[in-house]
Amino acid sequence: MTDTVQLLVVRNLTVAYRQGGGWARAVDQVSFSVQPGEVFGLVGESGCGKSTVSLQLLGYRHPSTKVEQGDVLFKGRSLVTMSRPELDRLRGDRIAFVPQNPTTALNPGIRIGDQLVETMVAHGRAEQVKGAAIAEVLKLVGLPADPGFQRRYPHQLSGGQQQRVCIAMALACDPDLLVLDEPTTGLDVTTQEQIVNLLSDLRRRIGVAMLYVTHDLALLSQIADRIGVMYAGRMVEIAPTHEIFLRPRHPYTQGLIASIPLIEEQSARRSRPLRGLLRRRELPAGCPFTPRCDHARDRCASERQELEAIDNGRAVACWRWREIAPIPAETSVASTGGRQSGPVPALSVDGVSVLYGPRGRGFRAVGDVSFDIKEGEVFALVGESGSGKSTLARVISGLVAPADGTIRLRGDQMAASVGGRSRDERRLIQYIFQNPDASLNPRARIGETIARPLAHFFGMDAARAKAALADALHDVRLDASYQDRYPDQLSGGERQRVAIARALVAKPALLLCDEILSALDVSVQASILALLQQLKSEHGIAMLFISHDLAVVRMLADRVCVLYGGEVMEIGAREAVFAPPYHPYTYSLLHAVPVPLRRPDKPAKSRGLVEPKRGGVGCVYAGRCPWQIEGVCETERPPWREAPGGIRLRCHLTLEELSARAGWTAAQDKEIAV
């Protein structure tokens, strides 16, 4: 391959950031190339330098950023040495960027039609603006092209629509290369599926090359042709997508793939976390992965590993790649199913409804939800954002008072708000939040944070708390020396462990885990997940586990409840929920999850994102349901149906019909939808 056929060549790129008095290397001698029309995926944990690389593809310059070495060639021209006016002509026109967070990337004060025009005008295509160019580009990304839609402001669009607008802006000048920096990270799994489908569709239709940066390897398998794996600023492996999943060569790649929780496997394979953490300050001179590698030898730490071409377009930076066989995934013992002791459930939620906003015109966040959580059971609540999962957790904790319904803890009814509950009731329910950065007081040492519940609930003095503290830290696999540290000296995963320890010392009966993994890297997620599984068997605490990640739910939960628009769609034992007959919404959730090497063979299947019909006369899922029965679903409440295997679901379709449809292909779906 010569440079002439390459659209983009990155050669020995080394980038440093100003840090304190000196410069810290974020990217170290990274080389790869992208051919016209190719999708190249760049994957790695946070802090590995993947975003830094993507910014250099846009010729990003800043006084505190320095390209120490190497070059980025776009169609043979260097972006590193190019003059600013030349860059301005190129950026947005030939190379376009799609940012991670569309909410902050769009100007909230400008109508989206006008924002789309900005790019075109800036690149001297003002004459196109008069024509149908805007309508065309909106149609291209699957948005309505009518003038009414163009006159909307960003806040009037959903997250998925906003990201589509960002993609439309990037495509406005028909670029050769699209740089996407985690474009679906903030989106729901169903929205993510639609965006990824859109991107692969765009690629087929207009042949634009893409550099797709993400931490989600499973997602990349859906769209990328080739994948580059980065670790600590170095490229450790480049290979075609199939190859990387079937025969990962670098130990880090193998670890990453092993730590992906899989939704498909019946035996609930336990994902294998990577050992340790990336500590950039303590990197050896040789291979940066040495401290965490299971195959490390003395030579690894001292000798620099360069990317070495091995076969058909693959390269790996590990001198032992021939000897290293992929580690087989651990198969865990089947779930213990929870200690189902005693007839009284740990928690029962009965007919709970929550209204937000003014009475009468309020917003029904949760509607008539009932379930029990048995002692020692992990009960999962799944659904997309806005489905009422977190609201339910807040009701149970007493932060939000329900408009209707009761909460019983071990059979006794509790006051609606936390102020009316007894000390013991407050102790028995502990809440763990999504974002560990915000849930620990930054000005309190870890020891103080964990000791506070001990003093508050058990009246422990400092000396006794000290002993309990070490135990608590040991429980979450942290060293006792952590008690003198402040939260900003800990990594995200360690902070989440501290938050778990703080909840555990109260000796709770129920843990409310509200998306506690979603703010963490995949490999850290796997280790926290392993911790939760151990805690489940050691302590036998019941958990309400809220997640949008069905793969994680499948590994941890005993029972699952699927929520949509604040109402229960399906509830039952894990394996029964994950097997046919599916509720139509469960089915669409399950099929939106990216599975490595299973490309979606279908175009976006559901009927687009429609707001749930809350408090209406029909089914809340009507309007979005692919299997909707015209004239019935929108006007009548669906009945509850009991299915074998201990699940209950709510649908107008009979169980036989649902079972039959579970095996349908997309083509059949389409026929029905028409």
């Binding site: 102020g419 407050r426 502990q430 939040f433 620990l440 007081n441 944070t449 519940p453 508050h456």
Partner: protein
């Protein structure tokens, strides 16, 4: 011996760390700090080396203007103005700082509780504070002094209370805004779910995280407090003569400003340099704290 060996390198590194820190401070902070230090040294040691006493008369020819012997001239009663400025330094600084500190304590407690609790308590308190803030601060101070009655006028404690009264509502508003922001963090929710009292939440969760805001607010208010104290003195509502309070001195000599401008300019310059020093220091401090707060959040 071994202890010494172990301690030496850490002391060394601590020293070089401070040097590094000093090198990173903004210029305004350094200049402000130097001016402030000069004022503090004068305030602390002035009475020991001032050439004359503050009420000593006949030190020179009245209204004779600036000279080497009397840099700020001699006033109507034959008192050396420079000596009086030096003697008055600690009065101005003490009154300003203690008044602001009292205002900070009251304002911070009220503001943090108000921001955290919300509801009717917050509503009532905020309307009250708004009413106080809507009155121009000098007018408010004069009303307070007038209502305290004649027997208390001239009492330094009254001046401190008045400074606190003027500043507490303003500091409370900043504290409330900070508390409302911090109260949305999950660690406060965790404390609330634990059933902690409002006082405990304020002390353990809110206050430690609002120190940056409050420190800057304190320095900012302290920077203008000498002006307030001086204004009260100038209007005759502050301390009583012959106290060498700077505002009072400006007031006493203002009728003769045409003949000997230096007798007014002297205390005026002293006041101005203190205010400028405090403000530069505050600005620098705010930048340093803002930086560390940002770094901490990353």
């Amino acid at each position: 011996m071994s202890m010494d060996h172990a301690a030496a390198p850490t002391r060394q590194s601590a020293l070089s760390r401070y040097r590094l820190l000093w090198g990173q401070t903004p210029q305004s902070f350094r200049i402000g700090l130097v001016i402030l230090l000069v004022h503090l040294i004068v305030a602390a040691t002035g009475p020991l080396w001032a050439p004359y006493g503050y009420s000593q008369m006949g030190t020179g020819i009245p209204l004779s203007g600036a000279s080497w012997e009397h840099p700020f001239g001699v006033d109507q009663l034959g008192r050396d103005v420079f000596s009086r400025v030096v003697h008055g330094s600690h009065i101005v600084i003490l009154l300003s700082l203690s008044g602001t500190a009292l205002g900070l304590v009251v304002g911070a407690v009220l503001g943090l509780l108000s921001g955290y609790l919300g509801g009717w308590f917050d509503n009532l308190l905020q309307r009250l504070l708004e009413a106080l803030i809507s009155i121009p601060f000098l007018v408010l101070a004069l009303i307070a002094i007038a209502s305290a009655g004649p027997e208390l006028s001239g009492n330094p404690i009254l001046v401190v209370l008045v400074v606190a009264l003027v500043y507490a509502p303003r500091i409370a508003r900043m504290a409330r805004a900070a508390a409302m922001d911090i109260a949305t963090r999950d660690y406060v929710t965790v404390a609330r779910l634990r059933g902690e009292s409002a006082w405990s939440v304020m002390r353990r969760e809110l206050l430690p995280n609002a120190t940056g805001v409050l420190l800057v607010e304190f320095a900012l208010r302290a920077g203008y407090a000498p002006v307030l104290v001086g204004s009260l003195g100038f209007l005759g509502f502050g301390l009583r003569p012959p106290t060498p309070e700077w505002g009072l001195m400006i007031s006493e000599n203002r009728a003769l400003i045409i003949i000997t401008p230096i007798t007014v300019l002297g205390p005026g310059l002293a006041l101005a340099s203190l205010v400028v020093g405090l403000n530069l220091f505050t600005e620098g401090l705010a930048r340093i704290l803002g930086r560390t707060v940002r770094l901490g959040a990353q």
